[in-house]
Symmetry: C2
């Protein structure tokens, strides 16, 4: 199975990296860009072949390693292949 | 308009960050995880209201700032809202 995990900062948590991108875009002449937020995507393959078990396993990975659940949200996509 | 840009390392480019995640998952007891790749997602709002013009503008942003096209690929999602 293929897993894709999106990790994004929770609403309300300051995003200095996003702010830096916003300022850099403005400096390059790209006006009208607001609310820039930067997150990460982690993609990997799992030897687990049962989608439900894979989902549970990946949730566990998110809680233990991939996301800091105090300030980050995560979304999991499990696909065949 | 809302724009979402996914930036991922090109196939064949070494991903030490992904490798570190893979090793950490293995150390935590999550076996059967291979090919970990880490990318980033940049989300923002555009004042541009024409989807086609927005697409062109965001492509330009990717080439100039958001992605290093020598080693990274990017994918753009433009949505109403």
């Amino acid at each position: 199975m293929k897993a894709k995990v999106h990790v994004t900062l929770k609403q309300g948590v300051l995003d200095p990296q996003g702010k830096a991108v916003e300022n850099a875009l403005a400096a390059l002449g790209f006006g009208g860009v607001t609310g820039v937020r930067q997150g990460k995507v982690i993609e990997f393959e799992l030897s687990q072949t049962d989608p439900e078990k894979a989902q549970v396993q990946v949730e566990e990975m998110c809680k233990k390693l991939l996301a800091n659940t105090v300030i980050e949200d995560y979304a999991i996509d499990i696909a065949e292949g």
